[in-house]
Symmetry: C2
Subunit: 222 residues, 2 copies
């Protein structure tokens, strides 16, 4: 019974997501859906990423949380437009649904925006099941979470286009084997680009920023 109900909700969402995709295509804006466990460092990565994209890439952000405007309060300081969604108004949803993203996007003027980043609710399970009409999906995995997460949460790593391995500055203090996590990611998604970086020290950001700029460029000429 439960599975059938969930399928119904997902099919309504898919229709809305297709409408979003068409809308974003007309605006020529690349939409990036960033997902991770709680506390993997999405907001910290975005603070540093936006700083490096500006002023070349005009960016806007939609932030999803169950409660608080903490992340929006941090990201607004980068100078880009930010809309915060609090899903506790929708029963404390564990993911962003397509219609919620569309409502938030309508609060932004996207006419001169090339990149719309959606920071999803911190959850390594449910957001992977909900298409929001994005072009690119990114999963952030912090090295403090352990090497086995790609195998335990395979859908997330299967649907994402790239992975960011964050908090590499903590590697000297952890029993974490980088080769094992890379092997586990490849087992789920063989050709997935993986960018190792630290949002704290900004080590490893250049390759990630170059990849992201290239995605924005591709979208412009789509």
């Amino acid at each position: 019974m439960e599975v059938k109900l969930v399928k119904k909700v997902l099919s309504v969402n898919d229709t809305m997501a297709q409408q979003n995709r068409q809308f974003f295509l007309e605006k020529k804006v690349l939409v990036l859906n960033m997902m991770s466990s709680p506390g993997a460092g999405k907001t910290a990565i975005l603070e540093k990423t936006i700083k490096r994209l500006l002023p070349e890439i005009k960016t806007a952000v939609i932030v999803g949380d169950i409660c608080t405007t903490n992340d929006a309060d941090r990201l607004i300081k980068t100078g880009v437009p930010v809309v915060q969604i609090c899903t506790d108004q929708f029963g404390g949803d564990c993911h962003l649904a397509a219609h919620v993203v569309r409502n938030a996007a309508s609060d932004l003027n996207l006419d001169h925006v090339q990149l719309l980043i959606v920071e999803n609710v911190g959850n390594l399970v449910c957001p992977a099941e909900f298409d929001i009409g994005e072009d690119v999906r990114i999963v952030v995995l912090s090295v403090t979470e352990g090497e086995d997460k790609p195998l335990k949460y395979p859908l997330m790593f299967r649907v994402c286009d790239a992975a960011l391995l964050n908090k590499t500055d903590l590697l000297p203090y952890l029993d974490f084997d980088k080769e094992t996590v890379l092997k586990n990611i490849r087992q789920i998604h063989p050709d997935m680009p993986v960018f190792e970086l630290s949002a704290k020290t900004e080590e490893g950001f250049s390759d990630w920023i170059e990849w992201l700029k290239n995605e924005v460029e591709k979208k412009r000429y789509e």
Copy 2:
């Protein structure tokens, strides 16, 4: 529409959870539901916890994951009976439902067991919404996840009876303010016991074990 569907699923679950609760009461077994983000250290905490409970407290474990039997493989080495649930058989569920726990429990002989630990799917959102018929709910928060998680995931901290603040061995390498996280926990759940510990070094385990043994004792004379 979505909220209504979810409510229906939750009410079916609540009925099953009450049946579980009656079943566990007859067995005089304390059921502990342990929840956290992915990678917060639930399994590592349980390895060390079970070692300290044995042979005094007879324990069994049900482990929930979407995929893999990694956690069960680790916990079976403690010598206690372990049943692994893989929710990918149920559509990749992001939480353990009451009927799934009951099926797993029927694979265990609970006649001489005083403590049944359920390690839930790594997710700081959905498991908080699903009663499984447990007596005690524990949330694990690792210090690498940041101080704001109790405010961003308030339901989890509201429904849990105690919090374990894990990975304290990493505090010297983090910009983490312990007073802030404790203040945030108190804001959501004023009188919640918080045990600061490290599953790696076992620092701080004594108070947690004492509290847990006391809960098992209370159940025995319920």
